[in-house]
């Protein structure tokens, strides 16, 4: 028993140490040798890592197909920029306002998610996110309409500070994801995804856990959004766009859905995209979106039985290998 526990603890830590190691390597190199461009790319990658974890939590673990994930991200952006630019609150308050709005919104989404499933849930999300997008344009006095709001100049941080904040946030969310995955919550999430009826009959309150998953996931995305507002120093309704939602999804799917590694591996796609843009500057923007879309389509053609399962199979392989190691060491 005791040795089992030890082994298990080692397994729990192993990917985490690897991840933190990889992140620290990144951290050490970019600000020292990298220039502003490199730091920008790294920050974008970090943002997508955070968003990736957030989506992974909701869809990869809890099995609720979040199609308009940029909704939570955008609300985080707006929470920060409105409270700082309009109401002159401190940054921490902006963060909390973003979180608060997101908790309310995600409770609604979660509630819908505990009542509806499949296509209907997806359509309800599209409807909600359209409404919020429209409101973000129409509530001009609050949101600044299409042109958005500017953050006051005194909140400008230099690139390396932003970089470190992004790095810390990315590490924190990675740890949070790994912790949640192993905790009671994570077990319940996966259980309700795999077999909602059985989890119900085993005493798990499926509706509550669904709402919980949405709230946790939205809070993570909100964090990324609030940071993005500080990074861009402005907001605009484009943060709700479908392209961002799809990018988040692709980042996770490419890396492997349901696993801690997923978003981190997948964020290399964001880095690649930004680098390519740097090499081929003009008239490439629509191509970059097309490339993202093609990656997804090719994956679908190669695995017609379900993209979701590709991620799972990668996850299984990872776990399977380490499992063998355990049995050998025994």
């Amino acid at each position: 028993m005791r040795s089992d526990n030890l082994l298990r603890r080692e397994r729990l830590l192993h990917p985490l140490t690897a991840v933190s190691l990889a992140l620290v390597i990144l951290a050490a190199f970019v600000p020292i040798f990298g220039d502003r461009l490199m730091m920008n790319i790294a920050i974008m990658a970090m943002i997508y890592i955070i968003l990736g974890h957030s989506w992974n939590l909701l869809t990869g673990l809890a099995g609720m197909f979040s199609i308009t994930h940029a909704l939570f991200f955008g609300l985080g952006v707006y929470g920060m920029s409105i409270s700082v630019a309009k109401f002159h609150l401190p940054i921490i308050a902006g963060l909390l306002v973003g979180l608060l709005i997101n908790i309310v919104m995600s409770a609604i989404v979660g509630m819908i998610g505990s009542k509806l499933s499949g296509l209907y849930f997806v359509m309800a999300q599209v409807g909600l996110s359209q409404t919020i997008y429209t409101l973000s344009i129409q509530l001009f006095p609050l949101t600044g309409g299409v042109t958005g709001l500017s953050m006051p100049r005194e909140y400008l941080m230099d690139k390396s500070t932003l970089y470190w904040i992004a790095l810390i946030l990315a590490i924190l969310t990675t740890l949070a994801f790994a912790f949640i995955r192993k905790s009671r919550m994570g077990t319940m999430f996966v259980a309700l995804k795999e077999n909602p009826d059985l989890s119900l009959s085993l005493g798990s309150n499926v509706g509550k856990w669904r709402i919980m998953a949405t709230v946790m996931s939205a809070s993570m995305a909100s964090l990324a959004g609030s940071f993005y507002a500080l990074f861009m120093m402005s907001n605009n309704p484009e943060v709700f766009s479908m392209v961002i939602s799809l990018k988040i999804i692709i980042v996770v799917i490419v890396g492997g859905i349901g696993s801690v590694w997923g978003p981190i591996v997948g964020s290399s796609l964001v880095v690649m995209d930004e680098l390519i843009r740097g090499i081929m500057p003009t008239t490439m923007a629509p191509f970059s979106v097309i490339i993202y879309a093609l990656v997804l389509i090719i994956m679908a053609i190669r695995h017609p039985e379900g993209l979701i399962s590709i991620g799972r199979s990668i996850g299984l392989k990872l776990e399977g290998k380490s499992m063998k190691k355990v049995s050998i060491s025994k």
Partner: protein
């Protein structure tokens, strides 16, 4: 095993990207050192990030053309040093920001803003830290947050523009409809995308006591305009002021024509109503409609130096009449040129000196082809970019009718349909 592979791939990739970063940073360092060693002989670069792809390609290309023509008219050099325009594509905010960083890495230190630059908000807070001189044409009222040494708004701001539109409506009402502000009834129709433009207009109306008989803000994806036009039909008003873009202006005007409804008087608030797209609807629709423009080359030839030359050369070079967009880009490069003229070319690479020269600029109305003058206030906003032009469509061309010193024709109000 797989985990290891992924780990290896990841770290290889990280290493590769870091190396790439080092390479690019070292090359940019080389650029700088070489340019500083041979001061004055290297061409001086002015960068513009403007949408060359995406939804705003049209305006973006006009900007590019205008800036190109400006360099050509300057002879490609100022005070003996060559100047060059460098263009980059910025279809959206994110891409604009990326391109900005890329150009900065390559050594660009002087920028003029492109068409509809949504990223100018970000630049307004960023350029001081980077010591980049940025001349902006973005018109958001709250664009500049506090004092800056490097960021300048050379164009007009939206509050001046749209409250100016209200003033134009009032003066037209007084002069031609015989109604003073208190009796005037105005209907406003606009896409909710333009809320930021209409807000000051409404405030101005409140201040002047003008009654807004109908305020209709429709979503920007509205396809069916019949209900809105029906509402207009049933409203009693004197002047219709639409704030519309290409996507909604054309179907709106077409539907009005189909329903055989002509408003008593239309004053289009620029944006769409002074473009060739609108004029393509045909004289039946366009004739008689007034439009407030930002700047236009179609003004009295004596009023602004070089406006005729710009208009004619532009048409010769690009095959169509220049739009307000092209003139804006042309104008802003000319403003920068004025600043460059006042500084020794060897010192151009010192953006601090250059920024100080821009700040000191004091140019009167009519000195530049776009008629506006230049004089910056403490927030670096141009105070002399506040004169707007009211034009009237007459037989397929937009004639300037207000103000009096710029006009090419007298307005015909009310317009008699032939």
């Amino acid at each position: 095993m797989l985990k290891k592979t992924i780990g290896t791939i990841l770290s290889t990739f990280l290493l590769a990207s870091t190396l790439a970063g080092c390479a690019s940073s070292s090359s940019s360092a080389k650029d700088e050192s070489s340019s500083s060693s041979s001061k004055g002989s290297e061409p001086f670069k002015i960068s513009m990030i403007t949408p060359l792809t995406g939804n705003n390609t049209f305006g973006g290309n006009e900007f590019k053309n205008g800036a190109e023509l400006a360099i050509e008219h300057l002879g490609g050099e100022i005070n003996g040093r060559k100047i060059e325009m460098e263009f980059a594509d910025g279809p959206d905010q994110n891409a604009t920001l990326s391109e900005f960083e890329r150009l900065y890495n390559k050594g660009s230190r002087v920028f003029v803003s492109g068409y509809g630059s949504g990223a100018d908000r970000t630049f307004a807070t960023m350029v001081d830290e980077m010591q980049v001189l940025y001349l902006s044409l973005a018109w958001d009222k709250d664009l500049i947050q506090g004092k800056s040494d490097y960021f300048y708004r050379v164009g007009a701001n939206v509050v001046d523009f749209s409250s100016g539109a209200m003033d134009q409506a009032v003066s037209v009402g007084e002069k031609y409809l015989g109604k003073d502000a208190k009796d005037l009834k105005v209907a406003v129709v606009y896409t909710s995308n333009f809320e930021h433009i209409v807000e000051p207009f409404k405030e101005r109306a409140k201040k002047l006591g003008v009654k807004l008989a109908l305020v209709e803000a429709y979503p920007n994806d509205t396809k069916d305009f019949v209900p809105i036009i029906t509402k207009l039909k049933n409203t009693d008003y004197d002047i219709l002021v639409p704030f519309q873009g290409v996507t909604d202006g054309t179907p709106f005007q077409k539907k009005m024509h189909e329903l055989k409804y002509t408003p008593p008087l239309t004053i289009g608030a620029g944006i769409y109503y002074d473009t060739p797209v609108f004029s393509n609807l045909g004289n039946d629709i366009t004739d008689g409609i007034l439009s407030q423009s930002y700047v236009t080359p179609f003004i009295n030839e004596e009023a602004a130096k070089g406006s005729k030359k710009f208009r004619e050369d532009y048409k010769k070079k690009y095959g169509h009449d220049p739009l307000t967009h092209a003139l804006q880009a042309y104008g802003i490069v000319n403003v920068l040129a004025k600043a460059l003229e006042s500084v020794d070319p060897a010192k151009w690479d010192d953006t601090k000196e250059l920024a100080a020269a821009v700040k000191k600029l004091d140019i009167d109305y009519g000195e530049l082809p776009w008629y506006w003058g230049v004089s910056f206030d403490k927030n670096n906003s141009n105070t002399k970019a506040d004169k707007f032009i009211l034009g009237q469509w007459n037989n397929g061309s937009l004639e300037t009718v207000f103000p009096d010193n710029l006009k090419t024709k007298d307005p015909i109000i009310p317009w008699e349909k032939k």
